[in-house]
């Protein structure tokens, strides 16, 4: 059971690269990579909000529950 972050999927849909997202929302590539690869232990609401705003998506598009 885990929460899966589909950042790479949403980035592909929006045709945006990780570096561009990093520059737009001001979060380092390192931290976004942690998120993308599922190594982050959590995500702040503020970060989620910035990502959703930049990618014009919903939190549910980014996060999924895997049983």
């Amino acid at each position: 059971m885990k929460i899966v972050v589909n950042l790479d999927v949403v980035l592909a849909q929006k045709k945006m690269k990780l570096k561009e997202l990093s520059e737009e929302i001001g979060i380092s590539m390192t931290n976004l990579s942690l998120l993308k690869t599922g190594k982050a232990r959590g995500i702040r609401f503020s970060t989620l909000m910035l990502i959703c705003k930049a990618l014009d998506c919903q939190p549910g598009d980014l996060l999924a529950f895997e049983a």
Binding site: N31, L32, L34, L35, K39, A40, R41, G42, I43, R44
Partner: protein, 185 residues
């Protein structure tokens, strides 16, 4: 980045204590060598309350109660050497502890607070404290062919060690929380 004044002051104080301990160590060496050359020089110096156990067992005074205090000039060579070795070991351990404390303080000053090395240093300090506890547990000395043994429960080094063990665990928990916090994006 602005340096933490309290940490800097603590480093300065610890370095000052190291200097004092080093000076005391040097004076102890000089005393032992000089005692062997001229023991009578110390006829007016008394070892207060005999051969006490504990860490602070080398109390000297220039006048004393002959019933409880011992003239240094009356001590045998073996006893002087034992006093020297015992105190030298204690002072050496104290110097090691103080140097480790400075290493930890410098690490904290560089914002490397919850690092493995600091946790290891605290555990080493605690272990040294337990060794000091064993040393402080007993003492003995011989005057006029009579050997007296003294034992005590050394609460000070025991509490000191326990405190540093707790500090090690606190820093270990702090490290875990810091790592958790770092991996929260």
């Amino acid at each position: 980045m602005k340096k933490n004044r309290i940490i800097q002051l603590s480093i300065w104080i610890t370095k000052s204590v190291i200097a004092i301990v080093a000076l005391v160590s040097l004076l102890t060496v000089i005393f032992v060598i000089h005692w062997h050359m001229d023991a009578a020089f110390y006829k007016n110096l008394y070892l207060v309350n005999g051969f006490q156990a504990g860490l602070n067992s080398f109390n000297l005074r220039f006048s004393g109660n002959e019933l409880t205090n011992i003239r240094l000039s009356e001590l045998g060579s073996a006893t002087i050497v034992w006093i020297f070795i015992r105190n030298a070991v204690i002072l050496a351990f104290v110097l090691v502890i103080l140097n480790m404390i400075i290493a930890v303080l410098k690490s904290i000053s560089n914002l490397e607070t919850f690092y493995d090395q600091n946790i290891r240093n605290f555990r080493k300090i605690a272990n040294i404290g337990f060794v000091l506890t064993l040393i402080a547990f007993f003492n003995f000395g011989t005057v006029d062919g009579v050997t007296s043994w003294n034992f005590t429960i050394p609460f000070q080094p025991l509490l000191f060690s326990s405190s540093f063990l707790v500090l090690a665990e606190v820093f270990k928990e702090g490290k875990r929380l810091a790592e958790d916090s770092k991996s929260i994006v």
